[in-house]
């Protein structure tokens, strides 16, 4: 199936015309996202090396990029393959699966009849921009992201931060759609509960 979007076709044209400046634009736009994806699997230093290696591979292979997926999905796949290869070499087999210990942070907050026992508290932020201006809260969100199980963090990264479609996330992570949705829900409720706690106590 040809999934080339007008944006991807324009990119392919630009790459043919002016490879280096166009590629530099991709680095500028995607580097931080790719680093965050790699950090779902690897420690900071290793993640940076893996992303550098992924950019080298991408630069070599970009002439063969046909635009059947978005460039972002293509780059993410290269990074994940590189990260998994490093884990395998180190004998740390990557696992992106559902685990019974990854709980739903909202699970205990309902009565038996399904109504709220512990309803959500009101936040002071009225827009995403207002939330992003709260430096301490940003640190808390970063900390919570780091503490999430690799599977949840990876799905949240790809869906909420990178904006990938569910179909692409399933393909890239080799997971079923239902598993991806459960993992995303758990990650979001975990983060939601932390923001609530921050709202009430000023701490993570």
């Amino acid at each position: 199936m040809d999934r080339s979007t007008p944006e991807t076709l324009n990119l392919l044209e630009a790459l043919r015309r002016e490879k280096d400046p166009t590629f530099a634009g991709l680095v500028e736009r995607h580097h931080a996202k790719l680093l965050a994806v790699a950090r779902s699997y690897l420690k900071d230093g290793e993640a940076e090396e893996a992303v550098q290696e992924a950019w080298i591979s991408a630069y070599k292979a970009i002439d063969n990029f046909e635009g059947r997926s978005s460039i972002q999905t293509w780059l993410i796949r290269i990074v994940i393959n590189e990260a998994k290869m490093r884990l395998r070499k180190a004998g740390r087999e990557p696992t992106v699966s559902l685990s019974s210990v990854d709980s739903d942070a909202m699970a205990g907050r309902f009565k038996e009849n399904g109504s709220w026992r512990e309803p959500p508290v009101r936040w002071d932020f009225s827009s995403p921009d207002e939330l992003l201006q709260e430096r301490n809260l940003i640190d808390c969100i970063e900390k919570t992201l780091t503490s999430l199980p690799v599977n949840q963090r990876c799905v949240m990264e790809l869906r909420d931060m990178d904006g990938l479609e569910f179909e692409d996330i399933c393909n890239v992570l080799d997971l079923s759609a239902s598993n991806v949705r459960v993992l995303l829900h758990r990650a979001r409720t975990q983060l939601f509960a932390m923001v609530e706690n921050y709202q009430e106590t000023g701490q993570c």
């Binding site: 680095v27 736009r29 991408a58 909202m106 309902f110 995403p128 909420d160 939601f192």
Partner: protein, 74 residues
């Protein structure tokens, strides 16, 4: 009628605009009556909106470094 626990479970699909017409109607009917669930959905939408702008662009030094490495091939 849907209960609050079910609304929280369905909130992700609501945000992604993936509910069918009938489900969406049932969720909206619940939200009209339940301010706790309205608050949950509103704040979840806000949080997800904040995450969408989480990663900024790489700075010019980082771009130059990566481009140098990529051109050299390692």
């Amino acid at each position: 009628m849907l209960n609050c626990e079910r609304i929280v479970a369905d909130a992700d699909r609501l945000l992604a605009d993936e509910l069918g017409a009938w489900e969406r109607l049932r969720v909206r009917a619940h939200l009209l009556m339940c301010h706790h669930c309205r608050r949950y959905v509103r704040q979840l939408r806000l949080l997800v909106g904040a995450l969408a702008g989480w990663h900024g662009k790489a700075n010019p030094e980082q771009v130059k470094k990566i481009m140098d490495i990529a051109r050299r091939g390692g």
